[in-house]
Subunit: 183 residues, 2 copies
DNA sequence: TCTTGCTATGCAACGAGTTGCATAGCAAGA
DNA sequence: TCTTGCTATGCAACTCGTTGCATAGCAAGA
């Protein structure tokens, strides 16, 4: 029941179409709330029916019309009351941790495969960290002069950076452990 | 499609009933894969129908029978092939991050409420970290003499500890930022 | 020219996860 | 004695999320 709220925040930061939202979820918002375009379109429909957002039809000659959404008063009210409600505890789903414990029940060959997978996984997290750091330099060059919204965005990004650094350190630990088992 | 595999790992570490599994998911496994008892019972039924696990009925005089599950050969084979398959990228869902960015669209009163929420949230993560550290001292006192399974369990626990420490540091950062906005 | 890929939206079917409720006996404490 | 809480399992209804597919025109490069 929270994709609505992520969409409201994104639309308040910048109105846009379902397609544009889907791309933002791949980049910015999707760092901490993933969603596919099908999900976004479906939820936008419901939000429009509930009067949380309003759409402006934009014809584009030939192509399907683009529906540019922005937040209505009742959507903003819904967001406010959600913002003030208690934070729910996270539902953790960490597949890799399950696989690592499962590695006790595989043989050395299987563990070698897992080591290769962890290395690949590590590369993607390295790339994510680099992307975050590049974005930080680009979007938040001067910390002193930021408005409220930008300061909050920067704090969330710092959280992403801290997370990626922690993951990379832990993956090194995991690789050491896995390599130590069959040697 | 992955709760099955978390259950297989847990049953290989120690056979048990649906109820016992549910309690393990609250404590140990649930640190990185949450599941309710309803989900676990339903999936166990399916796994039994597929021949992945076998149940031993244990009458207990009066109470409903306890069904003690253990992993069958085909379940173990299914786990092995899953262990060797590529690790899926995590689907991140971090409600608090959405609320922090949303705080730009609330007033000082709303942000004060959020600060109180973040403080409460921080207390729960402090408690989690303490629980992990206590468990580490209890279950892994002597690192040198551990078998394969225990070493892997310890590595996963170290990941949990690193995660909680990172979260606590970040929450301090978040609190500083939020408090700085309306002062 | 042909193919690939991008913008832009959407349906249908399925699988995963949540919530509320129900049963039922035993044990411990107020 | 009465209530609360634990062990132990489960159904039904619902919402959330994923996967596969479909349309349709334009732009860029092989």
């Amino acid at each position: 029941m929270a994709l609505e709220h992520a969409i409201l925040v994104s639309l308040l930061e910048q109105p846009g179409s379902g397609y544009e939202l889907a791309r933002r979820f791949e980049r910015s918002i999707g760092r901490f709330w993933t969603a596919t375009h099908q999900q976004i379109y479906r939820v936008l429909k419901r939000m429009e029916a509930d009067g949380w957002v309003v759409a402006e039809e934009i014809g584009q000659g030939g192509r399907p019309d683009k529906r540019c959404y922005s937040v209505a008063a009742s959507g903003r009210a819904a967001l406010t009351s959600w913002l003030r409600a208690p934070v729910q505890p996270e539902a953790v789903r960490h597949e890799l941790a399950v696989k690592i414990r499962g590695a006790a029940f595989d043989d050395a060959g299987g563990r070698a495969t897992l080591i290769a997978e962890v290395e690949r996984y590590r590369v993607t997290h390295e790339a994510t960290l680099r992307r975050y750091l590049t974005g930080e330099r680009r979007d938040f060059p001067d910390t002193a002069t930021l408005d409220v919204g930008r300061r909050l965005q920067h704090t969330v990004l710092r959280g992403g950076i801290a997370y990626e650094r922690m993951v990379l350190d832990w993956l090194d630990d995991v690789l050491d452990t896995l390599r130590g088992l069959d040697r």
